[in-house]
């Protein structure tokens, strides 16, 4: 059992800001591996000046940051070697050959949703379904919006993510060109979920797609976003996606994220959230992975009485790494946050959970709870879990807990004593463990899909 960094310590006093320190000199040679991800010229002269500035500043930042190394706390357990070895190059063109029937198998049966499909990082209108949107909603491609109505994006795009958490966010901003835009005006209730489906298709040489998304809900607006990552075939590729979520006063966003990609997929995604007064963000992240997946969820409260609920489930097996980094900062009073992540790691799989809740001195009456529970199903499975509370206010309610364990022999025996074979009994218990999160998804076609995949994975999992 390798619980390499099981950390159940009380909050440490040390600063654990994931912001990067300037890279070590030694990292610079390695960093050249990602130089190709940056555009040679930061401008193409067609977008508004503020967008050009956003890109060029990010490119500069990316060059200054260099590659994170394992000396960097936020990357201690997540090596970049495998990713660098692939020699990913940017995918420069949209793949237009895909027809709706090509993606039928990847759609969730019975899901009634507006759909935005990205193919290798580019908006694919022919595969999307945008008819019948309510008034007051803009939903479509970022590139089109930037070309036609860039002013719509001016207050949010790049504002929510700011400088970003690390090199990959800077690279995404530096190359910002296409993605999804979802804007809902004040008071709009989205009658159906919006599904943002990322499809990755193998290209001649392994490519990196860097889609950039923006969701902005006006005052009192409500909506559900299902963000999925899927592949056609078992291609080798990388996604470096970034989504900015800008929630106005009293708005509510339900966000369901499912990452289920090719066994050779590399995945980096950044979720940047800004929450206005009394807004509510309710997110469930399901990480079933590819080969290597890193997700950062970074939330900021811009108003009081906001609620942020982050749940997650990850399942990592042989040859997989799944890494979730959460960074929840309470700078204002009367906000609440909850993180509840569960993980199952089997075979030689590896998972990383790093959750930081930071409560500034002025953030009185903060209510924050963090929990990370893990099941390790094999001797060779590894989980590095690191929950951190940093609290500088004195009138708060904060808690955290981490567990790393195996299937309880008592439970296993109970099932077996009823005639259920050991393998099925284990699966039932794992599904039971995962069931809390799957059950909370609230969207039946999605929950069924996840439940089925998790069940299949466990059935074929070498323990």
């Amino acid at each position: 059992m390798t619980a390499a960094a099981l950390n159940t310590q009380a909050p440490t006093g040390k600063a654990a800001t994931p912001a990067l320190t300037p890279a070590q000199t030694s990292a610079h040679t390695q960093a050249q591996a990602l130089d190709g991800w940056l555009p040679e010229r930061a401008t193409d002269g067609q977008d508004p000046a503020w967008v050009e500035t956003l890109r060029s500043a990010a490119a500069e930042r990316a060059r200054a940051l260099g590659l994170p190394t394992r000396k960097n706390e936020g990357w201690r357990y997540t090596g970049l070697q495998a990713l660098l070895q692939q020699g990913f190059a940017p995918v420069s063109e949209a793949l237009e050959a895909l027809q709706p029937e090509d993606i039928e198998d990847l759609l969730l049966p019975d899901l009634d949703a507006y759909r935005v499909v990205m193919v290798n990082g580019y908006f694919a209108p022919a595969l999307s379904a945008l008819d019948g949107l309510p008034n007051g909603v803009v939903l479509g491609g970022l590139h089109t919006t930037l070309t036609e109505t860039p002013d719509l994006l001016a207050d949010s795009l790049g504002e929510v993510a700011g400088d970003g958490a690390h090199l990959f966010s800077a690279l995404n901003t530096a190359t910002l060109s296409d993605g999804m835009v979802l804007l809902a005006e004040r008071g709009v209730l989205l009658d159906k979920p919006v599904e943002l489906l990322h499809l990755s298709v193998g290209t001649e040489s392994p490519g990196v797609a860097q889609p950039r998304h923006l969701v902005r809900l006006g005052e009192g607006a409500r909506g559900t976003l299902i963000e999925r990552y899927a592949s056609l075939g078992d291609a080798t590729y990388c996604n470096n996606a970034l989504i900015e979520l800008d929630l106005g006063h009293d708005s509510v966003l339900e966000h369901r994220r499912l990452q289920l990609e090719s066994p050779n997929a590399f995945h980096v995604s950044g979720v940047y959230l800004r929450q206005g007064t009394s807004s509510r963000y309710d997110a469930i992240n399901i990480g079933l992975g590819g080969r290597w997946a890193r997700t950062d969820i970074i939330t900021r409260f811009a108003g009081e009485h906001a609620e942020c609920d982050l749940q997650g489930l990850y399942l990592a097996g042989d040859g997989q790494l799944i890494d979730y980094h959460l960074d929840v900062r309470h700078a204002l009073p009367h906000c609440s946050s909850r993180e509840n992540f569960k993980g199952i790691v089997h075979g030689k799989g590896k998972a990383v959970f790093d959750g930081l809740v930071y409560v500034a001195r002025d953030a009185q009456q903060t209510d924050a709870a963090m929990s990370n529970r893990n099941l390790l199903l094999s001797q060779n499975a590894e989980i590095d879990t690191k929950p951190q509370l940093e609290i500088y206010a004195d009138d708060v309610k904060c808690s955290h807990g981490t567990t790393v364990g195996q299937i309880e022999p008592e439970m296993l025996f109970y099932l077996r004593s009823r005639g259920i074979a050991e393998g099925l009994a284990r699966r039932m218990l794992c599904l039971g463990f995962a069931g809390e999160i799957i059950g909370a998804l609230g969207i039946e076609p999605l929950a069924e899909h996840v439940s089925e995949v998790v069940g299949q994975r466990l059935e074929h999992a070498p323990l």
Binding site: E408, P409, E410, M411, F413, Y414, L415, R416, S417, R418, G419, I420, A421, E422, L424, A425, M428, L429, L431, G432, F433, A434, G435, E436
Partner: protein
């Protein structure tokens, strides 16, 4: 049905069963009584195949098969059922799903067709009625958040559904008030049949007021030291275990 011969078993190098003999015929109800630490629960666990017990001598034959050679799930599929003293909570595992998996595992093992959802629900409803159980129990995770009485009733319900040849009731009365005890006992009695044997393991005689045994055995220090009819239980109730243990030692 069940034949235990010279059974010896250890837990953590401590010998608990020290040469136990017991014969249970079809349709018979046997009570195993004895003071704390006499090996009652160990017997129940060894018979059901729980890990952590080392059988060092003796044999157990169940319906003509060498029981000790079988995995717990095989024993269950052959018709052995243990009603747990402390039924285990399984958070996230739906009770209906669990019961269906158990029943179908057994049917499959015995070459019968697995039940589909509709026939299974029909069967469950039928069994619920017999036991006067509320079907809300079925929608919840197995035993999770159940009261002591609900857990024990869920055990008996499983027994009704799985229709074992031999049911071992391990301290089924523990933690039950008199009303709950009566309900559980009624459930057990409803399941008595000429094909079903029962082994009722209990410290107290009171359970036997409700579930009347054909035979009573006294277990002490890992051996059966006295066997008799149901009147033996009454004698124990009156005089305690001391005299009989002393007599056996003498």
């Amino acid at each position: 049905m069940l034949s235990v011969n010279g059974l010896k078993a250890k837990v953590d190098d401590k010998e608990i069963l020290r040469g136990l003999d017991l014969q249970v015929g079809a349709g018979e109800v046997h009570a195993i009584m004895g003071p704390n630490g006499s090996g009652k629960s160990t017997l129940a666990h060894v018979l059901s195949g729980r890990d952590g017990y080392e059988v060092t001598a003796g044999s157990v034959s169940f319906d003509g098969k060498d029981l000790l050679d079988l995995e717990p799930e095989e024993r269950a599929c052959l018709g052995l059922f243990l009603a747990f003293q402390y039924p285990v909570e399984l958070p996230g595992v739906n009770n209906t799903y669990f019961l269906k998996a158990a029943l179908n595992a057994k049917r499959k093992y015995n070459g019968e067709e697995e039940l589909d959802a509709v026939s299974f629900l029909r069967l469950m409803k039928e069994k619920l009625k017999v036991l006067h159980l509320d079907d809300s129990l079925l929608k919840r995770p197995v035993n999770y958040g159940f009261s002591g009485g609900e857990k024990k009733r869920n055990e008996i319900f499983q027994m009704a559904l799985l229709e074992p040849k031999l049911a071992i009731l391990d301290e089924t009365d523990s933690g039950l008030d008199i009303d709950a005890l009566r309900i559980v006992a009624d459930g057990v009695n409803a399941l008595r049949s000429p094909e079903r044997s029962m082994l009722v393991v209990t410290h107290y005689q009171r359970l036997l007021d409700y579930i009347e045994p054909d035979y009573v055995h006294v277990l002490a220090k890992g051996r059966i030291i006295r066997s008799g009819g149901k009147e033996l239980a009454l004698e124990l109730e009156e005089k305690g275990y001391g005299w009989i243990v002393d007599e056996a030692a003498a």
